[in-house]
Symmetry: C2
């Protein structure tokens, strides 16, 4: 079942030298010699909405770089419910933990259609030993992942329901259009913020009523930020 997903997602082999977002990713400052050390092809893949990139505990095939779209990392909690521990966006790395354990610690599911490249573990193990440039980038990606994890905890799971929704709105701002922000299905937002979906809906409505946000589509996914100060509190 998983191989089928992989097959259907596979779109070809990546040409990393000419990657459009290369300055954001792991291979940012590799030189020609480093690229020569890559003996296994990097797969270029696209996953449809709601498809699973990998499961919690699954044996790892590689580390992913997210090129386009959004991916949620999901964990099962002790009582069986579902918890979204983070949302990744373009430039982020998925499955770094596989470098240490050969297994993925969380499930990864596409929140939108998602383009990724999958870098085989062997390539990273080899390069991290031979290329100080990759080694340094790898440290930076670990550090960023850890900081993101702590940020997520400190910002989004703190305070009243209204504060949480407002924090999520700020965190999910579009990097290119800072006055726009993206929301998700209400039950996903609930799993991110640890509040019920009805409460999410109420707080969004309240922020719209108070003039902090303006809905830009009919599905409740895109909003314009009208009053940033109101969200910051």
């Amino acid at each position: 079942m998983i191989p089928i997903q992989i097959d259907s997602a596979w779109k070809g082999t990546s040409d990393c030298r000419n990657c459009g977002i290369r300055d954001m990713v792991l291979f940012a400052d590799l030189n020609e010699q480093d690229f020569g050390e890559i003996h296994t092809p990097i797969d270029d893949m696209v996953f449809a909405v709601d498809s699973v990139l990998y499961n919690e505990g699954q044996t790892a095939l590689g580390v992913f770089t997210l090129r386009k779209g959004m991916v949620k990392l999901v964990r099962a909690t002790a009582d069986g419910r579902e918890r979204i521990v983070r949302v990744l966006r373009p430039g982020d790395v998925l499955g770094l933990e596989a470098l240490a354990t050969e297994r993925y610690d969380t499930e990864a599911m596409a929140l939108t259609e998602a383009s990724v490249c999958r870098i085989p573990l062997a390539v990273l193990h080899h390069l991290s030993a031979t290329s100080p440039r990759l080694h340094k980038r790898l440290m930076q990606k670990w550090q960023q992942a850890l900081k993101d994890a702590d940020d997520w905890l400190a910002d989004l799971n703190f305070g009243s329901a209204r504060q949480r929704v407002a924090s999520l709105a700020l965190k999910m701002r579009d990097p290119e259009q800072p006055h726009m922000t993206s929301f998700f299905a209400r039950d996903d937002m609930g799993a991110m913020l640890d509040i019920k979906l009805e409460t999410v809906s109420r707080e969004i409505s309240s922020l719209v009523r108070d003039g902090a946000l303006k809905p830009c589509d009919k599905q409740g996914r895109r909003y314009e930020i009208l009053n940033e100060a109101m969200l910051l509190r």
Copy 2:
């Protein structure tokens, strides 16, 4: 001011080869040759309760390994309150992020008297390039830190106040005496679980009344776990 803390904490130079907890720490599988590459002394330090090991944003001097005691990682939130993002225990590494950014991402404060060794950044940068053994350990410590961060979020900040207190009790079990567990000042516990200190107190009292826990001191810090199943739900 910070140098004064450092001076007062300094207890000598560590003999890593004979470290009592070496199998848990970064230097676990270094060989004699690797040790020969260490040209800067590892400092052995002790911090008193409530003293600060480093501040958020501070320029980093090194990475710490916790030998004894407990340390909290604290962040300021958007609204100025204090948020405890994790508690570290013996064997854990503090300040790994300094390897990537030369700065600490959080404040670290001793929850008990804490013994640490401070490994200069230069030593780690050098060894991670020359010793595949350290390189591998480093990956494992990054992975563990990231998993701990996600665990903290998923377990302790989820569900009712009672569930959170129960999860904390389980997470803070003594590794040597699994039926014993450690709590903290009630406002610290509140900052860990994102509930008010009065609620923490009430839930602890309730767990004691229901026979899940038994207090073992008069300050409310040590408890015996009488009914593990009751805490798991």
